[in-house]
């Protein structure tokens, strides 16, 4: 009994400490959402930058902790203002989902800059704090726990005073409530936005630094989890609700802490995503909001700008396909062939994403999850059931279509950017399942020794064979998708994308056509995953990360939303160009992020135009 109480007390303290971090992150997101009507995907990256800045100050520059705090505040504040400039203000006249995509691009760029400067490896962050622990009853609390609690409470107090007693704070509140009316009182809303981003980023940066000290380590990929958890906490408290974000953060911290002690540490991240999805579906206004309805759609609409697609003559497609087919006969360099094989596989991913996102307007940020399902399905079918690859691949694709559609099904009632967030969460949940269902997926160990791709007994041993198989699969996928999008079904999808209200009013059953599009899209994703798994002969939960989803979306935007040839062109360009310009190889992800940013700003219709 005493043991139980002690564990319970320990977990509560842990939960509250981590909850404080989540609260700091969530408050920033809430402020930005309230004022700028934007879900800031770059927030997690700011948090990570804050952690690294703190780490540099303490370990490299030997600054005392208060000075490091000061530097984090200045750097992250400026960074926030820069994000507002690039991600929001310059996109005021763009599609309403453009700022959201821009913050994804910014996040990519920030993550890459940190990786390039400090490598991917985690850096140890020795605590600059004394190691004293204060005993309370049978347990004890460390200095860092107290520091985090104090920072959380202190930040909340400062924020309260700022919002309540300063002119800018008033402007911020007024803008959040009614932007137009605030303008008519003489409030400069651009300045308010900038302030909101600065304040939010300062809070995020401080949270990052504290986490670095708490876990004694900083690493570049900490950004993604932090952003998503901050968002989950924010959603739990009600989007844009600042006190709600604090409560949501603490609650999420406690849930995680108790959950981990019940189910084990590997489940830690699952709770946030489960909460994310559950709240979106059951109580979109959050736990602490009185309104019965979800807040008005902040960023409605798809990212499909009006444009006339460039007509590519059929002979050009035939020539290109022929050239691709004959290439291995003339080029023996395995490196070139491997890069192009990757390009074909990414083309399929881009096709799959563009079907849901471009043709039917259901922005998906979770396709990596579907690809993973396909890969695991095929791996398990061949290894456990001994099915030949020829059978396992289509079976895996169909399984992915069924499972993927079932997973997205609850999100059908969501619209526009909420779909994007729900799919992001779904993708992560798939990842967490793979990590935790040891009996099925072998957990962290992954599945190795997958047989190489083989069709009708012809194993792909040489890279040329792999190349041809991948190309053939791409051909099949493209052909299926081409037939679909130019059929009456494709027409219906595009109507659903252009105006779902009008579409319903003309007899289109939204759920039916969302089901059909996700089934078709995840079918192709599953096929791609199955092939990729066998090509690498080893998969684990890290084989298909969220980066793939974002990269695929960037390819789609580059080629032109909904444009099939565009998807292939986008994939080939983004995969092969950095490889062939050797200077760029190290900076490839930086290039991807910048590409996304530039496209959104300057050529939202992509290279070949939207369809």
């Amino acid at each position: 009994m005493e043991d139980f109480l002690r564990t319970f007390f320990d977990q509560t303290v842990n939960g509250l400490v981590i909850g404080n971090i989540y609260a700091l992150t969530a408050v920033g997101l809430a402020i930005i959402f309230g004022v700028g009507n934007l879900i800031n995907f770059a927030h997690g990256s700011v948090y990570m930058v804050g952690a690294y800045v703190g780490w540099v100050c303490v370990t490299r520059l030997g600054l005392p902790l208060p000075a490091a705090f000061g530097v984090v505040v200045v750097v992250c504040g400026l960074l926030g203002m820069l994000i507002e400039r690039l991600g929001l203000r310059s996109l005021q006249n763009s599609a309403r989902i453009a700022p959201l995509l821009a913050t994804i691009g910014i996040s990519f760029v920030l993550d890459q800059l940190i990786q390039l400067t400090f490598t991917r490896a985690p850096q140890s962050f020795p605590s600059p704090l004394p190691n004293t622990r204060f005993p309370i009853g049978g347990v004890s609390i460390g200095v860092i726990d107290l520091l985090i609690a104090a920072t959380g409470i202190g930040s909340a107090a400062v924020l309260y005073l700022f919002l309540r007693y300063t002119k800018l704070g008033w402007a911020l509140r007024a803008t959040a409530q009614d932007r137009d009316a605030a303008q008519q009182m003489g409030v400069n809303v651009n300045a308010v936005n900038q302030t909101a981003f600065a304040v939010a980023s300062i809070l995020g940066g401080i949270a990052g630094m504290l986490v670095g000290i708490y876990f004694s380590t900083v690493y570049p990929t900490m950004s993604f989890q932090a952003g998503l958890k901050g968002f989950a906490a924010n959603l739990l408290g009600g989007l844009g609700n600042v006190p709600g974000a604090v409560l949501g953060g603490l609650l999420l911290g406690l849930i995680e802490s108790y959950g981990v002690s019940l189910f084990g540490a590997t489940y830690r991240n699952l709770f946030a995503y489960a909460i994310l999805i559950l709240v979106l579906l059951l109580r979109p206004q959050g736990l602490f909001s009185r309104q019965r309805q979800a807040p008005p759609e902040p960023l409605t609409g798809t990212f499909v700008p009006n444009s006339k697609p460039i007509h590519v003559p059929p002979w050009a497609i035939a020539v290109a396909a022929g050239a691709a087919l004959l290439l291995p006969l003339f080029v023996a360099n395995p490196y070139v062939l491997q890069v192009l094989t990757n390009a074909w596989l990414f083309s399929m991913i881009a096709l799959s994403i563009t079907l849901a996102t471009g043709t039917a307007g259901q922005t998906s940020l979770g396709h990596a999850g579907f690809i993973a399902i396909g890969a695991y399905a095929s791996a398990l079918l061949t290894q456990r059931l001994g099915l030949p690859f020829t059978v396992a691949l289509p079976a895996a694709a169909i399984l992915t279509a069924l499972l993927g559609t079932l997973l997205v099904l609850p999100a059908f009632r969501l619209r526009a950017h909420y779909v994007a967030i729900a799919t992001l969460g779904i993708g992560e949940i798939v990842n967490q399942m793979i990590l935790n269902w040891d009996w099925l997926t072998n957990g962290v160990m992954g599945i190795s020794n997958l047989p190489p791709p083989s069709f009708f007994g012809r194993e792909a041993v040489r890279i040329q064979d792999v190349y041809w198989y991948a190309l053939a699969l791409l051909g099949i996928a493209a052909l299926i998708q081409w037939r679909l999008v130019r059929s009456p079904l494709g027409r219906t999808w595009r109507a659903l994308r252009d105006d779902d209200i009008a579409a319903q009013s003309y007899g289109i059953n939204l759920n039916r056509y969302k089901t059909l599009v996700f089934a078709s899209s995840t079918l192709i994703a599953g096929m791609t995953g199955a092939f990729t798994g066998h090509m690498y002969s080893y998969i684990n939960h890290e084989s298909f990360t969220n980066t793939i989803s974002i990269l695929g979306l960037t390819m789609v935007i580059l080629g032109g939303m909904g444009n099939l040839i565009g998807a292939v062109v986008g994939a080939v360009a983004l995969i092969s160009l950095p490889e062939f310009f050797r200077v760029l190889v190290d900076y490839r992800y930086l290039v991807y992020g910048l590409t996304l940013l530039l496209l959104i700003r300057f050529r939202p219709q992509g290279l070949l135009g939207t369809v």
Binding site: V304, A502, S505, R512
Partner: protein
């Protein structure tokens, strides 16, 4: 029996009755207009009749059968089609495709069937259209062209152009064409001439006349009262969510309640009444006929 029957229909938005116990009938072949000042609840009423919004109380009967509990898309299947106040064409789709969407619920592939099987069927029919599906598509295209030809040369030469590139008036025409493609029994037009100049307005008037001669039942929201007077068999006047008058166009026009609804409630203080409605309407009545 009335084709469409509204029984004490209400819609409550957080304590405000946007539509307040409205009842009326619509008979086959009639053209009925709903008029009233801004915020009278006309568009909300349209949203209720087309299923985009659910009434807080009251019922809508089509052919004596209640439409309660149906999804929006099922209203179209039962023959109720509409246009939108601000024009909601599918911007990135061609003129022809927009009209074909109007015929969506008539397509074989879109019909309901066994759960799951219906989905697989629609996918397969999209990949490999059966001869009958192909023939149907050709026939729908033919019908779409016929509907578009009702607008003369306005839309026909622009068949493959994306709808976003059309002029505002052409978008409104396209919306009407799209609604007609569903072969509706009742057509609801929400301000079909909003934003149009007098010439374009006159064209719409002629067009609606054509529809009338084809015996289509029409429910019209319109601010240009001259158009309403010319087209309507009956006029329903709404103010503050309530039906305040109903009758023949001429009678409604002379109804003091209607004038009050439009021009303002008379001043509570004695002041010379500026409107001698009768003489005024009389003069205009003669010019219209």
């Amino acid at each position: 029996m009335a084709l469409l029957e509204l029984n004490s229909l209400s819609r409550n938005f957080g304590g405000v009755l946007a539509v307040d116990h409205v009842s009326f009938d619509l008979h086959a072949g009639e053209t009925v207009s709903v008029i009233g000042p801004n915020g009278a609840g006309k568009t909300t009423l349209f949203n209720l009749i087309t299923g985009l919004d659910q009434p807080s109380s009251g019922t809508i009967l089509l052919d004596g059968k209640a439409l309660t509990g149906l999804r929006v898309d099922q209203f179209v299947e039962r023959g109720i089609a509409r246009t939108f106040q601000h024009g909601r064409v599918f911007g990135n789709m061609s003129v022809l495709e927009n009209v074909l969407i109007g015929a969506h619920s008539r397509r074989q592939a879109a019909q309901r069937g066994l759960p799951f099987i219906e989905l697989v069927r629609e996918l397969l029919l999209a990949l490999w259209p059966s001869p009958s599906v192909a023939a149907e598509e050709a026939q729908l295209r033919q019908q779409a062209l016929e509907i578009l030809s009702l607008f003369g040369e306005r839309l026909l030469p622009r068949l493959q152009q994306p709808a976003y590139s059309l002029s505002y008036a052409n978008r409104r025409r396209l919306e009407m064409a799209r609604a007609l493609a569903s072969q509706p029994r009742i057509l609801l037009l929400d301000e079909p001439t909003a934003g149009m100049n007098p010439t374009e307005t006159a064209e719409v008037l002629a067009f609606i006349r054509t529809l009338k001669t084809r015996n289509l039942t029409i429910l019209l929201i319109e601010h240009k009262l001259s158009l309403v007077m010319e087209l309507s068999d009956r006029v329903i006047v709404m103010d503050n969510g309530q039906k305040i008058a109903e009758g023949k166009p001429h009678d409604v026009r002379n109804d003091p309640r209607v004038i009050e609804a439009y021009l303002g409630h008379p001043a509570p203080h004695p002041s010379p009444s500026p409107f001698s409605a009768e003489t005024h309407f009389h003069t205009e009545g003669t010019t219209t006929s």
